[in-house]
Every structure is written in C-alpha cells, then in structure tokens.
Amino acid sequence: MKIASKVYTALVFIFLFAPIVILLVFSFNEGRSLAVFSGFSLKWYRELFRDEATLTSVRNTLLLAVSAMVISTVIGVAASVGIERLRAKWLKTAINTVTDIPMTNPDIITGISLMLMFVFAGRLFGLANSLSFWTMLVAHVTFCLPYVILQVLPKLRQLDPALPEAAMDLGCTPWEAFFKVTIPEIMPGIVTGAIMAFTMSLDDFVISYFTSGAGFQTLPIRIYNMTKKTVTPKMYALATIIFFVILALLLISNLTDDDAMAKRREKKRLKGKS
C-alpha cells in the first residue's frame, strides 16, 4: 500500500511536470524544435531580453497587478468590516450573494459582461474605442475584490469584539480603535487577501482578453498573441524564468513562513502573557 501510493503520487507529479520540464529543457535548445535537442545555447534568453514588446508587457502586468491589489484590498477590507457590522440579515445575504457572482461565474461571462458595458458606455460618450488600461483595472479590481473579502471576513469573525470596545473605553475614537486595534488584528487575512489579489491579477488571461484595448498589453495577452503563430523558443525562456520566480516565492512563503512565523508569534504571545 505504501509503495503503491508513492508510485501513484510520482505518476501524477510526472504528469503535472512533464510539460514544464520540457519547456525548461528546450529553452536552452540551440534549434527551434521542441522535440529534438540540438545543442545547448542561451540565445533564446538573449532574444527574450531584446524583445521590447514582451518586456513592456511584463511592466504593464506588474503595474496593473499592483494597482488592482491596492484598490481591491482597501475597498475589500472596508467592505468586510462593514458586512460584519451589518445587523440586517437580508442585506448581509444580498451582499454576500453579489460577492459570490464573480467567483462562480465563468471568467468568459465576467469578461463579456464588463466588455459589453464598457462598449455601451463608450458609444454613449462617443468614444471609438473605450477599452484601455482603465477598463482593465476596473475589471481586475472587480474579480479580485471577492477574494480579499473571502480572506478578511473569517478573521473579523474570530476577532474578539471586546478588543475595539476596550480601546474606545481607554479613550480611542471609533476610527482610532479601527486603525489601531481591528486592522492589526486582522492583518494576516489582509496580507493573504492582497497576495491572492496580486496573483489573480498577474495570472488572468480571459477577463483581460475581453476588457483590454489595443494600447495596453499584459503578459498573458502578449503570450496569447505569440501563440497564435508558431512560437519562437524565447517564450520557453520566458516560461523558465517565470517558473523559477514562482518556485522561489512559493518555497519562501510555504517552507519558511509557517515554521518561523508560528514560532515568532508564539514567542510574542507568551511574552505578552507573562
């Protein structure tokens, strides 16, 4: 049984990583083939760094992801606190139902729906092409918001309501109590939500595809346009770089964070108690 499950796990991971390994290996291929390795070369990496359009799209993607992350985190955290405070149950249910929509609807429908509204509004204002950086930003904030709220709300439920009350008894105004007590207490949820928003925005293709204009290309859109034709291996070089960046980020956050942070937090708590 033990051996069987090890073999099974290995097979699944081979399936998951086979295409990635092939991309990694063939990004160093001298020739263009993805089937025959004709010799080691770094020329596709050199080509990648000479490709202005791709580099611009990387910058655009980061700009968009950071903006979407900041806006959706600010609005989302405020909204979560508001939702948690609501007394009217029907209103709570209504807001939660609407928040669920972008998460359960297929991306293609979210994309099409926003596109139709932007196009319609564009016609109304007499714009020939209303799709731009701004429409993409609106779209990205919209699909990021539910993930922020989803991360922050549970943390608020765990928060002891006596804490902000105690702060107010000690002379804080309600807003001071909010910023000095509530926000620091729910910080882990805020950080996870912000990271999720950032990565969702970074990785999104479908919604971007429908809401982007000709002037502003993100990396996924650039990759889509590249894969319409036969691809040069510089895209594999790009995939390889992305792979190592993600690997590093995931290892840092998953392997060090939990152990070290948990220990540090525990220490802090013990100190606070004594």
Binding site: I20, A79, L86, I101, D107, S113, M117, A239
Partner: protein, 286 residues
C-alpha cells in the same frame, strides 16, 4: 450614538456597494440587454432562437446546440477524470508527514501559478504527430498515434490545467478530518473499502463539490485549450462566444453567454439544494 455607528458602517460599505452594483450587477444586466436586442437595440428573440435552432447546411445538425453538448460532455469527462485522479492524491497527501505535505502543496501550486497558456501550448507540441509523445511511442517500436485536434487531446489539456483545482479543496477538507474516526471504523470491523465508503467519502463531500465546480466551470467555458488542442473550428461554447466577439457580433455573443450563465446558475442552485437537504437529513438522523 447608534446613528453615528450606522453612518460609519455606511462609510465602510459604501464604496464596495457602489462598485459591486456598477461592475458586477450592471454588466450582467447588459448581457441580458444585448442578448435580447438586435444591432439597433430593438427587442428581439432572434439571438436566443438562433442558438437553439441554427442548423448546419451540410449535415442538418443543430450547430450551436451540438457545440454546447460537446462542451458539456468534455467538461463532465474531464471533471470525472480529475476527481478520480485527484481524490487519491489528496488522501495520500493528508497521510504524509508534515514536511512532505508542504512540499507536495508547493508542487501542486507551481503549475497553477504558471501561465496556463504556455503550459497548454507545451501540450500542443507534445501531442503533435511529430511531437515528443509520438517520438517516445515510436522508439518503443509502436505505431504513432494521432491525437492532436481530437476530443481526447482537449480532455488531456483540461485535466492537466484544472487537476490542482480538484486536489486542493478536497485536500483542505480531508486535512481537517479527524483521523480517529477512521481508526474507530477499523476497530469496529470495517475493511478498507467500507472505511472509504462510509467514513472518508461522506466527510469529504464538501471538498468534492467544491472541486467539481472549480473544474467544471472553467472547463465548460474554456476557449484557449480547445483552440490549441482541438481541431481549430468552433469546438466548444467558449470558442463560439469568443468567435462572435472577435467578429464583432456582440448580440449573439451575449445571447450565448446569457444561456450559458442561466444553465450554470440553475445547475449550481440544484447542487446547493440537493446537498443542503442531505446535510439537513444527516443532521436529523444523528
């Protein structure tokens, strides 16, 4: 005092309410509006009827209904394969040591965060008639297979892209499961299969449902996977919508999006209703 409090709640909730109304609800209204109007925005049912009735001139089959049912079929097949592949993996993960679990977690998440366009493109080159797969098959002395452009190739792509979305929700539910229940069932004389059927499976149903929706919805609406691994014509409903968008037929694109949305909403409501009732019954019995 309570007035000030509710004013603060309104300040906190205001921006989001406006945002959600403007950019979640109003766009959905526009889907319906475009779906039921023609190019000069007069009411019409033609777009909706076209979806259900348009026939192919050569074969007489219903074009868009066929596309829809093909999407449904491939999405269901992919979801079932993901479940069959992912469920054992999620279980193995929960039984592994802490460090091994974390490493497997990272390994599952890496493909998720790597751009799916590049990974799908890689599958296209692997599955090509002259690709690595056929090179491998031929080196074993076997006949090469033709898979690119078939429904099987699309299923491979879907399973590959969405398998992590099946594993993670099931894993997160199973990881919280009290393993003592399994031991108790064993002590009470259950064999391995009975433990699975009577203890592990019922407890992991929320994870399974989550995983199924997370795989089914993107695979029924994908267009990139089918464009790269399918035969290039309008293969799935996502392709059909995207194709109408590209050729600027926004009203018909909206009609298809509307129909897809209604069908999915109905399906999800049904799932929610059925599972909600089951949980209730389970609670009543216990």
């Amino acid at each position: 005092m309570s007035g000030a409090k509710s004013r603060r709640t309104a300040v906190l909730l205001g921006p989001y309410s406006v945002w959600a109304a403007l950019f979640i609800l109003v766009p959905l209204f526009f889907v319906a509006y475009y779906a039921f109007t023609d190019n000069s925005f007069n009411f019409t049912l033609d777009n909706i009827l076209k979806f259900f009735t348009e026939q192919s001139r050569e074969t007489g089959s219903r074009i868009y209904l066929d596309i829809f049912f093909r999407s449904l079929k491939l999405a269901v097949i992919s979801t079932v394969i993901c479940l069959l592949m992912g469920y054992p993996l999620a279980y193995i993960m929960t039984r592994a040591g802490e460090r091994a679990q974390k490493i497997m977690m990272v390994l599952i998440m890496i493909p998720m965060w790597m751009n799916f366009l590049i990974r799908t493109y890689a599958w296209m080159t692997i599955l090509q008639d002259t690709g690595i797969l056929n090179g491998f098959i031929q080196s074993l002395g076997l006949q090469p297979i033709h898979i690119i452009g078939t429904e099987s190739a699309v299923v491979v792509g879907m399973v590959y892209d969405y398998l992590p979305y099946m594993v993670l929700p099931i894993y997160s539910v199973m990881a919280k499961m009290d393993y003592k229940l399994v031991e108790a069932a064993r002590d009470l004389g259950c064999n391995g299969l009975q433990v699975l059927r009577r203890v592990i499976l019922p407890l992991s149903i929320p994870g399974i449902l989550n995983g199924v929706t997370m795989v089914l919805i993107p695979s029924i609406s994908t267009f990139y996977i089918s464009q790269k691994l399918g035969n290039g014509k309008f293969f799935l409903i996502g392709d059909a919508i995207e194709g109408q968008y590209v050729s600027n037929n926004l009203h018909f694109a909206a009609a298809m999006a509307f129909i897809l949305m209604v069908i999915l909403l109905a399906a999800m409501a049904l799932i929610k209703y059925l599972t909600g009732r089951r949980e209730y019954e389970g609670g009543a019995k216990a």
